[in-house]
């Protein structure tokens, strides 16, 4: 995965989903490390993409160990709560 800080969110999403399509199991936190400064936007976009992808392709989640969908849903809930506090 090539790293570029100027990469658009659109392109990052493409790379993220390409990994799923290749049978890999991309981790959101890896992408956050790769694209510093875009964390907030990336968390929302990648979390939504991952939840939706895993919902429609649940077999992909079998390999999930560290970053389970449950954690993703929890993170989304936390984000929602944070937004409500603002």
């Amino acid at each position: 995965m090539a790293k570029s800080n100027n990469e658009s969110i659109e392109r990052i999403l493409t790379k993220f989903l390409d990994e799923f399509h290749q049978g890999k199991n991309p981790k959101i936190r890896d992408y956050l490390r790769l694209y510093p400064g875009k964390e907030k936007k990336l968390i929302r976009e990648l979390t939504a993409a991952k939840i939706t992808y895993l919902t429609f392709h649940p077999e992909r989640d079998k390999k999930e160990d560290e970053e389970s969908l449950a954690n993703l849903l929890k993170r989304l809930k936390d984000l929602k709560e944070k937004n409500e506090k603002k």
């Binding site: 658009s8 969110i9 659109e10 392109r11 999403l13 493409t14 989903l17 390409d18 799923f20 399509h21 929302r44 976009e45 979390t47 939504a48 993409a49 939840i51 939706t52 992808y53 895993l54 919902t55 429609f56 392709h57 649940p58 077999e59 989640d61 079998k62 999930e64 389970s68 969908l69 449950a70 849903l73 929890k74 989304l76 809930k77 984000l79 929602k80 937004n83």
Partner: protein
């Protein structure tokens, strides 16, 4: 034909005719569901009947954050569990059950299956209401798992335009997921989705 929401509203105000119409509308569907999980014929009839009685008794508590049918299914499935539990209590000693059975949290119950289905349904419905261009790209990419090379051949867009469409759709899905009341997605569904 009177809309379901109107019938529910009337039933919640105590109108039994309106509730009767809901019964007619959903009896067969609930019966089919119980057929899937109940072996004895007499049990099915009892469960469907009891489910509608409980629905009538609790209709005021029905909140519209799920469909009426889903709510009915939950009542029916709870009754099935209850019946199974009672039968087990009559016939099986707790000590005779394997310890793994008692501990196994990975067993997905019919109710959990239904909850997963409901989540998928809600998500699918949301995607179906996206603007046409976004919906097509999002479905091809997310549900059909197609690469952009093939998507742009179908839609006639440039890759950048298709990626933008996808991003717009994904942002909306993200907002939808955040607005969903996640607290009503019980632990079971999160676990079931993870293990599915």
């Amino acid at each position: 034909m009177i809309k379901e929401a109107e019938l529910i509203k009337r039933a919640q105000l105590g109108n039994s005719t309106a509730f009767g119409k809901l019964v007619n509308r959903y009896w067969n569907k609930v019966f089919l569901l119980t057929t899937k999980y109940c072996k004895l014929e007499e049990d099915k009839e009892d469960i469907v009947q009891e489910a509608f009685i409980q629905a009538w008794q609790n209709i005021k508590r029905f909140q519209r954050n799920s469909t009426f049918f889903f709510w009915l299914c939950k009542i029916a499935l709870n009754l099935i569990y209850e019946k199974r539990r009672k039968k087990k209590l009559k016939t099986i000693s707790l000590h005779s059950l394997p310890q793994d059975y008692l501990k196994d949290e990975n067993v997905i119950s019919p109710l959990e299956e239904l909850e997963i289905k409901e989540l998928k349904e809600r998500l699918y419905q949301f995607i179906e209401h996206l603007p046409r261009e976004e919906r097509i790209v999002y479905r091809l990419r997310m549900i059909e798992s197609l690469p952009y090379q093939r998507i742009i051949r179908i839609t006639g867009q440039s890759k950048t335009a298709a990626e933008r469409c996808f991003r717009r759709a994904n942002s909306k899905v993200s907002k939808f997921l955040q607005e969903e009341n996640l607290s009503r997605w019980p632990n079971q569904i999160m676990r079931a989705l993870r293990e599915y």
